[in-house]
Subunit: 254 residues, 2 copies
């Protein structure tokens, strides 16, 4: 097992941000600035075309760290952020951009390309989790959650299906075609986000993916609005969901 290599550290508003690498993988770990005891870990997957420190990632991480005292880790997906694109990445991105420019449906291309990225990303996530659990402030036995929408769901569903250390997850905003069969093997508590007026993902498709999870506790949050209009207040639900399932850490005294 390899260790994470910390390359930079900053701190703001009670949150320590540490960049790390693990072999070819670049990541970031957000942690409470105070407190030395162990705390739960949330893995977050970013969306397609963005990266580990995109505003949505940093914003959600700060809420989970300051609200619950958790650690939050994000790694750049293959071909994203600090990581190089392969010739195949370039080709699929070009196809996607052509479809968008032509006003055609990007769904089939996203489903295919995200499925490919998930095959590369799942083993990276498992190695990252191994390494993060080697840190004394996380440890090998603490609760682990996963939070990823869009491409973060395409990677997170197959990861969660084979990773027993993940015990609660938030998914959403994806098509069911490549994921529904895998979702049927997932039984942990799930929160699932869907945009009721999504211009890319048909409503029935989003509902079908939510329906596929075998979890006894699963909650759909469907909001009026287009694909990119997920309301900001959903992060409040995410914080409460993980607090409920991973437990508040020592930071909150709970």
């Amino acid at each position: 097992m390899h260790s994470v290599h910390f390359t930079a550290e900053t701190s703001s508003n009670g949150v320590v941000e540490r960049d790390f690498t693990l072999g070819e993988v670049s990541g970031v770990l957000w942690s409470p600035a105070s407190g030395s005891g162990r705390a739960p870990l949330v893995l977050m997957g970013h969306g397609g075309g963005t990266h580990k420190k995109a505003p949505a990632m940093a914003g959600r991480a700060h809420r989970l760290v300051t609200g619950c005292g958790f650690h939050v880790a994000v790694i750049d997906a293959p071909g994203h952020g600090d990581r190089p694109r392969t010739a195949y990445d370039e080709q699929e991105i070009a196809v996607m951009q052509q479809a968008m420019a032509a006003g055609e449906s990007v769904g089939p291309i996203v489903v295919r390309y995200n499925g490919h990225l998930a095959e590369r990303a799942v083993p990276e996530w498992r190695a990252t989790l191994d390494a993060l659990q080697g840190l004394p402030e996380i440890g090998p036995d603490g609760p682990v959650g996963y939070f990823g929408l869009n491409m973060g769901t395409a990677i997170g569903v197959p990861l969660t299906a084979i990773e027993p250390r993940i015990t609660a997850a938030i998914f959403g905003l994806h098509w069911p075609e490549a994921l529904a069969e895998t979702a049927k093997r997932i039984t942990i508590p799930i929160e699932f986000a869907l945009q009721w007026d999504d211009e890319h993902i048909p409503r029935e498709s989003g509902l079908a993916l939510f329906d596929a999870f075998a979890s006894k506790e699963k909650t759909l949050h469907a909001n009026a609005g287009a694909h990119k209009e997920l309301p900001r207040f959903e992060v409040d639900s995410a914080v409460r969901f993980f607090a409920r399932h991973l437990g508040l850490s020592h930071i909150e005294g709970a």
Copy 2:
């Protein structure tokens, strides 16, 4: 305009509970024990066959009072709680019980009977709101929300459609047949609860009622489980929804 007549007062855990009557209507008003300034008001509608002080009502009221500093009012629906049943009430209840005993669908009966109750209840709610706004701790201009599931939705949707003082509402767990056309006239922020495995309300029917609201901000919370298995954690969402839309009162200092 008539005034509410307070008939009993108790206090526990920072919450004052006052029974009241307004003509033939029996109700209860829960308020913060401390604080003399004005605070927002949430009207809550109880479910069919229950009453103003059913555990779900008292539990939600305590959370809204202690969490947000709000006032919460519930009135017994016609034929419920302290209020007499008419011959028509008795007849419809008998038909419903026969259908349940025979294992038949109760949906059409509930839709019809709740529609009838709503016609009686809506003017009672409006008179109650008039009277409650005459109290100095509520006042004529403060924010007003409505929170009612099951029969509370059958009464609350037509009430909200004609009552401009209600500016945010939580509905759910009902059929669309008698309500969808009315819901199309409602534009205020809505949270809507649905049980994904409801044995009484077909999934498509619940989704159709949510879809009908014209609100720009509306959120569906669909949870795995049967009709009566709405998770307790949904009350946390309700508290945050009303805090967001009605504003926290002086109690929270926000």
